[in-house]
Amino acid sequence: SQQGEEDPQALSIQEGENATMNCSYKTSINNLQWYRQNSGRGLVHLILIRSNEREKHSGRLRVTLDTSKKSSSLLITASRAADTASYFCATFEGAGSYQLTFGKGTKLSVIP
């Protein structure tokens, strides 16, 4: 079953603009991860944020986590055409769990 729900399902922006994607989840988590997938191929890990962290940065990426609202957001600043991809959030619940639970993803299109 899907744990996270990304919003919006699809997003189209101009190159240079910022892109924000949101993820909501249902259960308590140990950490939340964001992945990128190009053209239905393998996923690439972008960033991991732990349940005791509120914000994390990596290059042009900024992730926030609000455990009280069970939600996270991924901000990509100064987007490029190469950022065109599907973005997924994935949650890890913690001890006793052996899986990442993915959302349905946000399809981002960056127009040159």
Partner: protein, 114 residues
């Protein structure tokens, strides 16, 4: 260093047949997980193997099975294929048992069942 590799890249099978998909993890990684991704959806967890033992199983029927070899490579087997098994099958590896760290994904095997 080579990343996670999967074979074959594409596969077409007929309903009722059996299929075997293969995965080689990154060198030194002992954990392999399998995911199924249906078009338009996120990946769904099937299995995790660590040190040749099954450590986790998702909500999939017994037609799905897997194993891990002494060199940590893995095979996913699906018997009695159904049309609904058509999907991208992804393999991911990580250094240790816990999936609390990032997973390294292979390019996937696209299975089409006709």
């Amino acid at each position: 260093d080579a990343g996670v590799t999967q074979s074959p890249t594409h596969l077409i099978k007929t309903r009722g047949q059996q299929v075997t998909l293969r995965c080689s993890p990154i060198s030194g990684h002992k954990s392999v997980s399998w995911y199924q991704q249906v078009l338009g959806q996120g990946p769904q967890f099937i299995f995790q193997y660590y040190e040749k033992e099954e450590r986790g199983r998702g909500n999939f029927p017994d037609r799905f099975s897997a194993r891990q070899f002494p060199n940590y490579s893995s095979e996913l087997n699906v018997n009695a294929l159904l049309l609904g098994d058509s999907a991208l099958y992804l393999c991911a590896s990580s250094p240790g048992l816990a999936v609390s760290y990032e997973q390294y994904f292979g390019p996937g095997t696209r299975l089409t069942v006709t």
